[in-house]
């Protein structure tokens, strides 16, 4: 069907010398991307300032429901005030850190916890997916539970995990409060991995599965040589979702369990300054955004490392 372009010569058909269809080259993309990213940040800032300038001072309400936000300096500080605030000390106390440094510290703390949560979530999700692929009965039994698990509100879960953890004591290992946060983060992270990886493991074509069977390959060999490599294109978006979930889970769980040191707690504390120092609460929010970007970037790096598994077969 699609081979009409094949040359009529009986000699080896070296279509491979023809270069692949032109796409945007990775090098070019790498040059343009930072520019686009910077522009989009500026665009958001411009939108913010435009509304602040044009919007009604007290917002706009309809029957008691506020549909447009207030534009006072209290509700919407100028973007440049938010940025400038980052370079001032956290508080008036002598020897207080500069704000951006405090945010970065809190971000690093949250990042560590999120990374642990992500790793646990990915491992658990992958194991669940493999088990579901191996035994159809497990898939039927577990998959609905996996979906159901995500309907439990995080806020309800956090105190439970915390109190269970506090009762745990395995040998010399004592349960640390940050572990509860990591567990909650992993609870959010495992879900996309379990679902995405299951789809990936089931992705190989019948012909490939039958070929492995014809080679006398058992389930394990088929998993390693065929199913896992074939799962990579499905797994990468799942890992990205898991990273985002782990970050959100960490920040929310820090708030819910009251874990000090991280961005979640900082958001909570700085919210008290909304009236006296309006740009200040925005700092940890920027920190959370940065954290999400770093997490997504790391998964993108992982995707680059695995890019040979993202090749697709071209049918003859």
């Amino acid at each position: 069907m699609s081979t009409t372009a094949a040359p009529p010569a009986p000699a080896p058909l070296l279509r491979a010398h023809v270069p692949a269809p032109r796409r945007v080259t990775p090098a070019r993309l790498a040059r343009v991307r930072p520019l686009v990213a910077a522009l989009s940040v500026l665009a958001v800032a411009a939108l913010w300032e435009t509304y602040k300038w044009l919007g009604p001072e007290q917002g706009w309400s309809l029957g008691g429901t506020r549909l447009l936000p207030r534009t006072t300096d209290l509700a919407m500080p100028h973007t440049w005030h938010m940025v400038a605030r980052l370079f001032e000390p956290v508080s008036g106390a002598t020897g207080a850190d500069v704000l951006w440094l405090a945010v970065l510290r809190a971000g690093a703390s949250s990042f560590g916890v999120a990374l642990v949560g992500w790793t646990i979530g990915v491992l658990v999700g992958a194991l669940l997916a493999v088990a579901m692929q191996r035994v159809t009965l497990v898939e039927r039994a577990v998959l609905p539970l996996v979906v159901l698990s995500q309907t439990v509100p995080l806020i309800a879960l956090a105190p439970l995990v915390r109190s269970w953890g506090a009762r745990l004591e395995v040998g010399a290992l004592e349960w640390q409060p940050w572990m509860s946060v990591a567990v909650i983060a992993s609870y959010l992270a495992f879900f996309p991995v379990a679902v995405g990886m299951l789809r990936g493991l089931q992705a190989p074509d019948t012909i490939h599965v039958e070929l492995m069977r014809a080679y006398g390959a058992g389930w394990g060999a088929t998993l390693v040589r065929l199913r896992l490599p074939a799962a990579v294109p499905h797994l990468l978006p799942a890992l990205r979702l898991a990273a985002a979930n782990a970050v959100v889970g960490t920040v929310v769980a820090e708030v819910a369990t009251g874990l000090p040191g991280g961005l979640g707690r900082m958001i909570l504390e700085f919210a008290n300054f909304a009236a006296s120092d309006p740009p200040k609460p925005w700092a940890p929010i920027f920190g959370a955004v940065l954290l999400g970007l770093v997490a997504a970037g790391l998964v993108a790096l992982l995707g680059r490392a695995l890019r040979r598994f993202r090749r697709v077969e071209v049918a003859p």
Binding site: A6, P12, A16, I207, R213, A214, G216
Partner: protein
């Protein structure tokens, strides 16, 4: 070597093995479905000698692919026995007695051409150096040594199919199972690959079970053509083909297509094509397993 060989099919050299490659006895395969059972195969008998090239041909739905899948142990018969080199089909599969190729090349996209050919060897536990040597040897055999480090998506359909054939030959199987391997290719590539397959079979001395729906292809390649009929799938007739393929199968010299073209223009070729066509379109002289439909 026993004194079994009296086949006129390949006069110059007798087959090295006297064994029977495939023995199918009274095999039936019924697929249970919602709209009742479908009889894909009924009471099929087939014997393929070692080194023999046998084609299965028939209308779609005649169960020729099903028969091949039973031999490969990718499916199990409802009744009857399938034996491959004296063992059950399952044992033969686990012992990697056969190589297999389908209509789609089925190459793993993330592996290079060489790594694809190495796959069956890796699964069999062959060492790295041995795998590489064998893969390069096979790629040279199918004329693809220069693309060994490319990926499948960089190859044409014909080249992909040749890689699949090299892969099927990886463990030097004494039996090759091929399910319309050239079905998706254009005519020129197809004839070229047929000539190459003949040469490879002459060199490796493997028995071949070859499913096709092309009469000239079956005649060109086969020692015997098994003509099947549909609903229920049965062997209607077995047409022996006697062509002098010595020209087309001489190893060594480069393009074999000329010899293949000579063969295709041979009078015996046309006679056999006519015989197979007769058998396909009802009746046939030696009415075996006469079909009433």
């Amino acid at each position: 070597m026993s004194a079994v060989q009296e086949q006129p099919a390949s006069p110059p050299t007798p087959h090295p093995r006297g064994a029977v490659a495939v023995a199918v006895q009274q095999v039936s395969r019924v697929f249970g479905g919602r709209g009742g059972d479908v009889v894909a195969l009924q009471d099929v008998d087939l014997t393929v000698a070692a080194g023999e090239f046998v084609s299965l041909i028939g209308p779609s739905g005649c169960g020729k692919s099903t028969l091949l899948r039973l031999v490969a142990d990718l499916d199990e018969p409802t009744a009857g026995t399938v034996r491959v080199f004296g063992r059950s089909a399952r044992e033969a599969r686990l012992a990697r007695d056969y190589g297999i190729a389908f209509q789609q090349a089925g190459l793993l996209p993330w592996r290079t051409v060489r790594a694809n050919v190495e796959l069956p060897l890796a699964l069999a536990g062959t060492g790295r150096a041995g795998r590489r040597e064998r893969a390069d040897e096979l790629l040279a055999l199918v004329g693809l040594a220069d693309v060994a480090d490319r990926h499948p998506d960089q190859l044409s359909g014909g080249m992909q199919q040749r890689v699949a054939i090299a892969r099927a030959l990886a463990e030097s199987p004494s039996l090759l199972l091929m399910d319309e391997p050239f079905g998706a290719l254009d005519e020129m590539t197809r004839e070229h690959l047929q000539a190459q397959l003949l040469r490879i079979c002459a060199e490796t001395r493997a028995a071949v079970v070859f499913v096709t729906h092309s009469i000239p292809e079956a005649v060109f390649l086969s020692d015997r053509v098994v003509v099947m009929s549909a609903r229920p799938g049965r062997v209607r007739q077995v047409v022996p083909v006697t062509l002098d393929r010595s020209g087309a199968t001489t190893p060594g010299s480069e393009p074999h297509d000329d010899a293949g073209d000579d063969l295709r223009n041979d009078a015996a070729f046309f006679t056999s094509v006519a015989a197979v066509r007769d058998a396909l379109h009802g009746g046939g002289a030696a009415g075996r397993g006469v079909d009433v439909r």
